[in-house]
Symmetry: C2
Subunit: 352 residues, 2 copies
DNA sequence: CCTGCCTCCTTAATCAATTAAGACCTTAAT
DNA sequence: ATTAAGGTCTTAATTGATTAAGGAGGCAGG
């Protein structure tokens, strides 16, 4: 079972390789009769058509879009926000008839060969921490690039929301309800696996730009309302899971004085905080208000959250990369919206 | 900004292309000094390293695994079962340092070019209906193939569960609790978009082998217990969503006599059935028992379901395709397990 | 008969690399 | 001095296709 190429078929039929190529890719350049015989021999030899790699090389297009996540894929797909974004992007790829090449970036691993070796026409980068080596590798490839959420790369299109504004919107909501004792649970600030309390300087040093911005928004709104941010208990997680949220919830709710409102930067985390409240027999929203983020898992739980256009962002990323027109660099900010549900209410009256 | 290749660098330095290639791929074949200069010039010219496509062609490997879903990706990722499987596969791909090329197969579309043109080393096919043209295309490529869930292709490895046994296990559970008036809601039997009642001959003609098998299991267990299957109301859906489940639930619960137990082939559908029951003020499990499938979204809702090893199946698929050793053809069946939670109980006493 | 025009096919350059084999020079051992 | 052994680089074949340009033959019109 030697390898079968165009040449094999050409030799069998006593024609040139070029003719066989035309038979496959431009039927009208070849007589119907000869084309029939070409297909016949191809079938007989089990030839499935021109080798895609060779074709890609000659044509200069790969027929695929590269996708980079910071997280292990197993994590990425556990996050409903990522799934929503992915759906939008996948639909765009479908429409364009190109594949989506998901590139593995093992956690903490500095090996970036996958990026170097990826057979793609463009890259979509999602949520990479500042200074991640894979990003340099992507930029070195000199292919069209779109960055989603973070980090902003001057000279390339960026898609996301106005994070500080969205964060401020969430915080202002509870502040306007009258809350003054806040607590915060956030995931995805740093890449170092830290779990636990985080002071202001550590918060500010977060390596993920989007989450840093979201937090800045929290702080700005809090200070605007006269809350001393340095006193706001801030619990950091390394995994975006319900269980992690519960852990943060227990830590925050054990603080003295106990927060009356907890801000989280993902809905999944917020669900975990609700679990913690339930564990302690606290009434939500009577005794505790909880705000999520993304409106990805919030509806059933009646969670107040910030909605962002996940799928639209994915679709737009696809359009920019596959649409042919060279994308304009600069930030494209998508709208966000506060969705008030049943997890927030005014704080309980102060104990006398 | 002309194209920069190995040759460009070679010319600049007055060395041969081969030398530059060695500098990149086999540092010890070239003097340290020259290698340094090569890298210097490469940097200066903005050369990111050998062209991946040309490399792939020459080396004969693509560095990617092709993945085929029957569904639009947007659907596929809405299903927690698919996400779980995908996580397992992605982890295996990560370990092997290869990418995962997701191939778009627009619904009903007969265009299979994406499969023909995919630059991959192997294919993983998930849940394709019988006779889907993309499968022929995949087989024609003569690359390693693993099929997951369906359809079974003689001569290639197959991974999945014993569907008839799993279906029978689910049905037997409610039958043994004493239920005799069953109802069934299933998605993914046919590819024709049909929504509504389905008679036995249509059920039997389902084009998705796995779901057909699962249904066969339901029927076998029912008949074993003396239930006349032709009388069992059977509602078919075309989308696996909670809303679809609710629709099926309403249809089934309006049947006369009303079923006391409803079997569904996905957890998501089961959640929708629970919604319908809640709409009607029916107590679950007091007045109605509901069984899901996959244990993918069941835990929080207290759903009785069949657990299957989603991630393990994905991981094994990856291992078979990337492990180097040629995979043995034939079926590999993974274990399944009945998880009894709070959605099933004995039927209410017959009205006198 | 000559010319022009089709149709159908071939020639040959090209895409961007990898790598076995060989050339050339230096150094070390016999 | 001779030979062998390394180290470093070059030559040239190879991977499997695409496609512009050109040639051969047939046919119609002047």
């Amino acid at each position: 079972m030697a390898k079968v190429t165009l040449q094999t078929i050409a030799d069998r039929l006593g024609v040139s390789r070029a003719t066989v190529s035309y038979a496959f890719s431009r039927p009208d350049q070849v007589s119907a009769e000869l084309r029939r015989r070409v297909m016949e021999v191809a079938d007989e030899l089990g030839y499935a058509g021109p080798n895609p790699t060779a074709r890609s090389l000659r044509l200069g297009r790969a027929g695929a879009l590269g996708l980079l996540f910071s997280e292990t894929l197993a994590y990425a797909f556990a996050d409903p926000y990522a799934v929503g974004f992915f759906q939008g992007l996948a639909t765009a790829a479908e429409d364009a008839g190109v594949g989506l090449l998901i590139l593995p970036l093992p956690r903490g691993d500095q090996r970036t060969e996958p990026v170097r070796n990826a057979v793609v026409d463009a890259f979509c980068v999602v949520s990479l921490p500042d200074g991640h080596p894979a990003l340099d590798e992507v930029l070195a490839r000199k292919l069209p690039v779109v960055v989603v959420d973070e980090p902003y790369v001057p000279g390339h299109p960026f898609l996301g929301i106005d994070e500080p504004a969205a964060g401020a919107l969430a915080a202002r909501h509870v502040l306007e309800l009258g809350h003054r004792r806040l607590g915060v649970a956030m995931v995805g600030l740093h890449d170092d696996g830290h779990i636990g309390w985080s002071d202001v300087s550590r918060q500010r040093a977060a390596t993920f730009e989007a989450m840093r911005g979201r937090r800045d928004g929290y702080q700005a709104a809090a200070e605007e309302a006269g809350v001393d941010w340095a006193r706001v208990p801030f619990y950091e997680l390394s995994r975006n899971s319900r269980e992690a949220g519960r852990q943060a919830g227990h830590a925050l709710l054990a603080a003295n004085p106990r927060p009356t409102a907890i801000l989280t930067n993902t809905d999944v985390l917020a669900l975990g905080v609700l679990d913690a409240a339930a564990d302690l027999g606290l009434d939500v929203p009577g005794e505790l208000s909880v705000v999520g983020f993304s409106d990805s898992a919030a509806q059933d739980a009646g969670l107040t959250t910030i909605r962002q256009a996940k799928q639209e962002i994915g679709a737009e990323a696809g359009r920019l990369l596959l649409g042919g027109a060279p994308a304009r660099p600069g930030r494209v900010l998508f709208p966000h919206e506060l969705i008030v549900r049943a997890s927030t209410a005014p704080p309980p009256p102060e104990p006398p």
